[in-house]
């Protein structure tokens, strides 16, 4: 695991632990979730899953290269593409908010054969758009016990506006 990824994930773990302890002390209070926003590493990812053929989007398949979900930086995405919803690969659509937390994938760019860290941030506070492309790839993904690598959770969870809208894929560093 690279130093940058280590740093990103350890930051998430640290925050997670500190928040959990704080949460225990503040049991019953309902404002913790909202306050958690902004404390994390910036970025997010997300991931609801709707019907689609996961095999068609499977990382490594030849067919994948032909579609948006097969684009190299989408190797671990789980979400609807913001680029089809008024945003872009790296920008949320107007009127939405960027998730305060995200998860990270490590994807290989075939042009230089280097591994890059990709932050999958959800954009929040608006309805998801079923007509946009849904991608679901899980390279390096882990269950909730590795929260920073988990893509089956709503990463808008730490925002004031928790509704899931779409997902962006932001290259945040080199994984070497």
């Amino acid at each position: 695991m690279t130093k940058l990824l280590d740093r990103l994930l350890s930051g998430l773990d640290r925050m997670t632990e500190e928040k959990a302890r704080g949460a225990a002390r503040r049991h019953g209070r309902r404002s913790f979730l909202a306050r958690a926003g902004g404390a994390i590493v910036g970025g997010v990812a997300l991931a609801p899953i709707l019907p689609f053929d996961r095999r068609a989007n499977a990382a490594g398949s030849a067919a994948a290269a032909e579609d948006a979900c097969g684009y190299w930086r989408q190797c671990a995405i789980d979400g609807f593409l913001c680029q089809e919803a008024g945003g872009s690969l790296t920008s949320c659509p107007p009127g939405s908010s960027v998730s305060a937390v995200s998860w990270v994938g490590t994807c290989t760019n075939p042009e230089d054969n280097k591994d890059y860290l990709v932050s999958y941030n959800d954009c929040c506070g608006k309805p998801l758009i079923p007509s946009t492309t849904f991608c679901y790839n899980s390279k390096g993904e882990r269950p909730g016990y590795r929260m920073g690598l988990y893509n089956d959770v709503n990463w808008c969870m730490a925002n004031d506006a928790k509704g899931y809208h779409c997902t962006v894929s932001v290259v945040v560093g080199l994984a070497e």
Binding site: A24, G144, R146, N154, K162
Partner: protein, 376 residues
Amino acid sequence: MKLTTALTMTLMALAGTAHAADEIQPETLTIEEKIAPGPNVLVMDFGMVGSSPVYVFGNEDLKLKGNIGTGSFGQMILSKDGKTLYTVSAYLERYVYGPIHAVVHEWDLQTMTAKREFEINDKFAHVESQTGTLTLGDGENFLLVQNATPATSVTVVDLAKGADIAEIPTPGCWTAIPAIEGRRFSTICGDGKFASFTYEADGTFSKPVKSEQIFDADKDPLFANPLRVGGKLVYLSFGGNFHVVDDSGEAAKLENTVSIEGGEWAPSGSEVMTYHAASNTIFVMMHKGPFDGSHKNPAEEIWAVDASTFKVKGRSAANGETGIMVTKGDAPDLYGVTHMGTLVKYAVALGDEVALTKAAEREGAAIFPALMQADY
């Protein structure tokens, strides 16, 4: 038209109306009191924006009997007697933004009505419905709710009080798997160990008791949701290795690890396995040609595995399932939900060889079928 003619025609029309009314019985609008009789399979349709409905299908022909309306990001668990469905879900005041309310519902399955509802703290995880994130502990007296903010913790809900009584920090860990007896649960952690906790009715709880190393989350991660097989917990790794964990002591303990011997096949899916106690059989969703990231691929086959020897005793064609669930009894049914929203019913032939045969299917059972339960 003369006035007299018009009056005559009007009277004739009224007479005709009265005559017709005499010939029919006015219909009465009613509400069905209960769902149609018979065993049921429940499918939760995970909702990101709006309700996560729970659809109830009859076991014979998968006919829809009705649904139950929870909030967003729903989790569910059915009581052992099959009569009461517990759900936790979120209600956003403005649907996609605004203050959030986490609500526990206690539904009567037969009448499909809420017997009770109450709010708990709003940290519960907005995560794909799964078996380990909402569980019943201590003889169904307590609900254990997985939280994620993304800090992870477990909310303990006292069902007698109708209130949450504790929030137990479980940093780096996921799920709350209740012990067979007592107010205890264990959770799987990213460092490869398990953490076990006890809690009391007064809201106090123990410090975590960590296990020795049980798995390696980097090299061969475990699917987070286990099966209860006898007194033990059975986990399965992405690479197809069963991990038998004894959670009866203060600390969880790894008993043994056995490979499914899948060769070029590996397990995958969301609810990746299910257990039939009467025949001591574990059913596992499998796909061919695994690679990094294929652990959620739809099933290409469903394998039957002896839960004592872990030998494969049957391989059957699958239909792209992402979750499976087998019912109880000597003649079980196995249900699958596919990535395209179809509910599939399989007949199960038990014996030294176990085989599945598709017996029925219902397309469009749900948009995002995430979890199943059955009352038989």
